[in-house]
Symmetry: D2
Subunit: 465 residues, 4 copies
């Protein structure tokens, strides 16, 4: 969900929530962001560790700018900007809204300070609440969808804030710890099995009844060939076997672009691994730790995922296959709210939620993405659960990110760029340990270039039958 890449924000349906419900949800999500910043020193907020990442301060300001621009500037007639310069500084990529600060230089902005940025947040929070409190029902009908959109947008930046801080800390030889998470003893992972699905016509995509990003629809028919899907994510141990079998030295396993990249960077392991004194270590948000063989392998890019699948005589699933396979699976999982910020072994029990970081609420009811089951029952040939479909790690699919048939872009600045990232990116599904639980859906389509590895990305295999 690199904000420069995605943020496919335009929404598809209006929400029917009371002003009070909206205010509560707004407060909770904004508060969650503040809590995520709690472990950071002032210095940590400032730096941009690579062009694809943003400073924490920028995430705080940009998500606030979004509320200011699309709600307050548009719908609060007497609204006075906190600072007129911020519209230039904190616009991400909305060309329709005028010039913006160069993405690669976000880390040059030591001003506004962190303190000023939080003041900006509080100011906009108060104004938004005032707007909601004073809106009549008509106005609420207009404003609510934008608010829900802003909330989802803020949740995207919560995940990016974490992955960007992880990237920053990984570059520091002092290996700072973001949060010392509870120590989890990994149990052995579940055995890797293959769950079969019959071929035939099926439907995927969002039906538009609840909130979704517009790239999730329209719901449409597809043909599926029979396939089977792996019962859990690939583990570090399995990935180490691939490495020991010369995975990074065998050109025949790799996409051509991936092989070139690997050669240019002398890559030998996933992004956050390093070999020290005879063992592989893994940089996590809880600091540098030995690679846990039972944990799912994370921070692999598309090329690594694809090469591993090739080596396994398998392949990555398409997003159609993934959505069909995920339909019957539990939406529970290891999300942001567990406070682990790291994937866990499939053998471990479902993580309990940690106290205080949940932004789950009445508004975010379990959302299947669709109650229209279509012929999905018919596709599934046997009946046992597939693990880790939701949470833990975003799962690379082999599907290029492109428009669903019949997709129409929304109008105006919000909709201007719906399809503008539909090029050279692959779809990822299912959310991660840094995704807010209420943010994800069956039909949710995340996307990143095949080179990206700083997100919580992992590998699930599929095969033709």
């Amino acid at each position: 969900m690199a904000e420069s890449l995605q943020e496919t924000v335009p929404i598809r349906r209006q929400e029917c929530l009371s002003s009070e419900e909206l205010i509560n949800t707004f407060k909770k999500v904004r508060y969650t962001t503040d809590q995520l910043c709690e472990p950071l020193s002032t210095e940590d907020f400032v730096v941009q560790s690579m062009p694809d990442a943003s400073p924490a301060k920028w995430h705080l300001a940009h998500s606030t700018w979004f509320f200011e621009t699309f709600l307050l500037m548009e719908h609060q007639p007497d609204y006075e900007r906190f600072n007129a310069n911020y519209s230039f500084l904190f616009n991400s990529y909305y060309n329709a809204l005028g010039e913006r600060h160069c993405r690669g230089r976000r880390g040059m902005l030591t001003r506004p300070t962190v303190r000023e940025t939080f003041a900006y947040r509080r100011y906009v929070n108060r104004q938004i609440i005032r707007l909601l409190e004073t809106s009549n029902l008509d106005k609420l009908q207009t404003v609510a969808p934008l608010l829900v959109l802003g909330i989802n947008h803020e949740q995207q930046h919560q995940e990016l804030l974490l992955t960007d801080i992880k990237h920053l800390f990984a570059m520091n030889p002092l290996r700072p710890v973001y949060r010392q998470s509870r120590v989890l003893t990994s149990r052995l992972p579940l055995p890797l099995q293959w769950k079969k699905f019959l071929g035939g016509p099926c439907c995927i995509g969002h039906d538009g009844k609840e909130f979704a990003f517009d790239n999730e629809g329209p719901r449409h028919e597809c043909f599926l060939r029979p396939f089977e899907i792996g019962s859990r994510l690939i583990t570090n141990e399995e990935y180490l076997t691939f490495m020991q079998d010369g995975g990074y030295d065998r050109a025949e396993l790799w996409l051509a672009d991936g092989w070139d990249l690997l050669k240019a960077n002398s890559t030998k392991a996933p992004a956050y691994w390093q070999y020290l004194d005879g063992q592989w270590l893994n940089m996590t948000l809880a600091g540098l730790r030995p690679v846990d063989p039972s944990e799912p392998v994370s921070h692999v890019n598309y090329f690594e995922a694809s090469a591993f699948a090739e080596w396994s005589s398998a392949r990555l699933p398409t997003e159609v296959e993934w959505e069909v396979a995920a339909f019957e699976q539990s939406r529970d999982g290891n999300f942001l709210e567990t406070g682990l910020y790291q994937p866990v072994s499939s053998g471990n029990p479902a993580p309990e939620k940690s106290v205080g970081t949940s932004s789950d609420s009445g508004m975010f009811k379990s959302s299947s993405g669709s109650n229209n089951r279509g012929n999905l029952d018919a596709l599934q040939s046997d009946d046992w659960p597939v693990a880790q479909m939701f949470g833990d790690l975003w799962e690379w699919t082999r599907s290029s990110y492109s428009a669903y048939p019949g997709y129409k872009a929304a109008a105006g600045a919000l909709g201007e760029y719906n399809g503008k990232f539909m090029c050279n990116q692959f779809v990822l599904r299912g959310g991660s340990c840094a995704t807010p639980r209420s943010h994800i859906r069956l039909t949710y389509r995340n996307f990143f270039p095949p080179t990206a590895s700083w997100q919580f990305t992992g590998i699930r295999l599929a095969r033709d039958v």
Copy 2:
């Protein structure tokens, strides 16, 4: 068909041709390559004008190396290599066959000389003919598919040889002429109309009965939404209107990557256009000429095609739509054999073949790609021809280049890399004025990165209904 990118050579079916037919076809195709070189000076053979292009000399040697490596070295027991170093110098990207010369440095190889390269060609030609003449029926069964593959491979390099020479000549301020083609007076183009197709299930892909590259199959079912497709290619005049309407200055029309590229290069027009003394000129293989308003616009990259479609309130077709729409259309068109090397107005009569450059033969019978019409008749709602589907220009589709469902890679060096280019490329369909007529099929999938513009690429629009 950038050889480093494509050359998806593994074949799908064996051919049942007599040794005599094979020899004749082989000779004709090899002779066509020689003829294409006739206008070149020795100097023109040597230079690599950009990393994606290759020197003409390299094309001559590499296509010869292919026959040597996969036929002679494998199936002619007493074969002696012409020069052992050539396997290093003229391997393109087959890692399984050992080390190879760095692609970007092909233009450094002033030796072997052009004369030596032609000697190499003649040597291998004689050896191939000897192999075919002396093979019994069993051996012919083994050798024939490889030969057909080599012939198709050579045809791909015929097109690349022309596009690479065009790129080279375009960099020379003297604007050399490759061949002074017959002067064609452009008639007004046909009016742009929209042909409707009903939605529903359909089948695309190669059924495997005749020769095809393996990425064309397997044949498989898809769902189509109703759509309509433009009755001809977009003209220079239409593209000029887009330019005059600020096409290159309006971010909202462009994919994000395309906009960045355009800004970085200050692009203002298609690749081979230049503005001189108040008019737009166009570099062609017949030299620099005024842009002809009636001709199809050529040498646009994917980003330009996509932005033009956006500006037209339309979109590019998917490859499924293209194949369905092309099914009933004539396979005739402005191919390599016309000797024009430039697209022509849709209003002009079908070009006559020029004498002597045709490599068409009994072996290359009209190939529909499939005699299984499936329900295609049902999809088409009215009955008039769509122009320029075959020949003139490769047509960008909005489909990323990826594996068809059920696709399986072949074994060994030939099959090693079937899918290795399935990343960050888009599918083009229909062949161009530089494609040998016998090389193209309904199901043929060409592919290039969205940045590529040195091929004969053009724009056909589609729309949802």
Copy 3:
């Protein structure tokens, strides 16, 4: 004095100062650094705005590391490091001292925090004072030269801290103010006159009697041709005339490398100038201000200085000429202590020192660099003062930075790299408004690559007679 470039630290002579004098000087200089940081927010300390610059935090830590490494680690037997990792993080370029953190990534280090960095400074300050207080005379003889070296090193980083902060603030669209300096009304500059010097043998370089960097010696004989030197620095008004006369468009005025650089960057004005609403503005440490015509032009690189000289039918002085011309001139000037941080018109009276930032002390007596006048009187043909030789701006000379005849590198880590920067750099003389007054000498040789413009650099002309 880019620390990666210069820091030519090895000293040439031992000092004979009491422990008390040393402690006082040490305290004052360290306190000056702290004062320079007073206007900075925590965020400002962290960011590296380009590879040549360093974060303020890094300057604070590195200058402290220097004292720790060369005094405490070597000469305080029971010394315990504040943090063992710091020797890796804050080593600048002393290869002999082991691995060090990549220069270009200094801005990635959000930890240690600013607070921790100041704690490090205080810890080392206390230990240094303890070392000096407890050293007997013998030990003091050993330690004093290293301390004086460390003090001079710290002063170099005071200047760099200011120029790096200026560069950082100039990249921020909010144009932060470092310090709102006293408003100085510029008087008209003095008329530009030429002071003649006769040719003949002369001596330059440091005689080694007081502290100097080793690149300032040995003192040696040279031959001078008759020349004349400009009576003051070139002003913004004069530079604007050059610009209006097409200075940036006339290749014949520029060194070949300079012309290429200018073309590549589309340079049209000095580094910190921007044209807004019909006037030229100038980023200063007091914020964005209109370009003052009477002020000396600053932040020009060597190529700009050289092109301006060419345009003026003059040339830049050699460092021999500069030193000869400066010999009789006042060492007073607009240095760091004035608190202006900006050059002032030659027509203004000598600036008063501001209170509190002076680190001048008994130890830093007026230092002529030499009391041996040699035949310098003979060289000077008339007798009126030349303005602005010291302070205001570093003056580009046309002399490449290279070893004086007879130069010998010192031994060990301190001396390891004495000559390692003697390549592709030019000598600058005289100090600037960001140089501590006590740091400069007649013989002081600063040096930077010809591309550098973020230092306080200016132009003085010379001519053959």
Copy 4:
């Protein structure tokens, strides 16, 4: 003498030669160029193997363009250009003469062909001879200096043609042979001794009585400290000892820029060396040969020369020292005319000239650069010859390339850029085995950036006494 870098062509004095002498010299030098091209295939003429190099064809055309532009266009009223486009294509860097073809794209110009280029040469040759034959004495006075300049310019390009071809051939895995030179059995080198020179005032630079480039003057006084200079060039064997002693791994031996370059390129040996099957091989114009321990080490850049000197507890000479030391030495040596194109052991007898390639003539009498010996006798303290000062290899000095005191640029296009390369380059002295014997002088100043290694460059040491 990279033409883009140097070609410091303006001349200092007019010549008093008869029309016949001028014609003879002109013919001989032009004929020598033709002879140097004799071993090349047409293909070899076309390619530019790196931005600093030029295609052989370009050298042929550019040196011809020089005669056309500065003699025929200026002084032959009825002259008709061979081809008007050539002034754009073959201008090197004379901005005053209008736009020119981008240096880095010289290798894209397959047209004009080699045949056309030679026709251009013959055409201009005839016209130049006609101009000389028909000039009266007055006109000859004007034209002769330009002709002599053009001849010297052509000689510079003879050397560049050879070094550029060497670079091209070294990139070809077939390792083409330029000319199979006579096999020379290397004798042991002379022992390395140190020749002392006393310090004091001295004079260097050209006195202007015969032809010289303007950067060689004016003659001027300098002070020298006592020094001693190595009696011969450093050998491959000595350089191998440096390598085996960790020369490329010891940062303390290297200039900072050199160390960075070495690390970035993983350099381990001189440019044309490669390690194969347990031995070091050396690419020469006679093909790949084992490194000869007795030969001078060649194709080292300034950084390598400087690091070797540091390792030897010595240094490189200044150009003043070099010129003083060379004054008494024989101007004979291993120049272009020997046809060896490779340096030879100092122990071998002076090479005989090969037949036919000499362009030596009456015009190019032994040229001391000065008959004014000044006090040079006094400087030299003992009296035995120093070997290899002239020919074999250009010798890096530690002197930056800069203007001599009193240097004045000439007027017009020829003089426009006299000093434009005086930045980031070092002076080399003495000529090489690729330099025409008549081209070199005692005062000749060649110059290249410290990174350059494709010229015939070597190492001579010096030391303080």
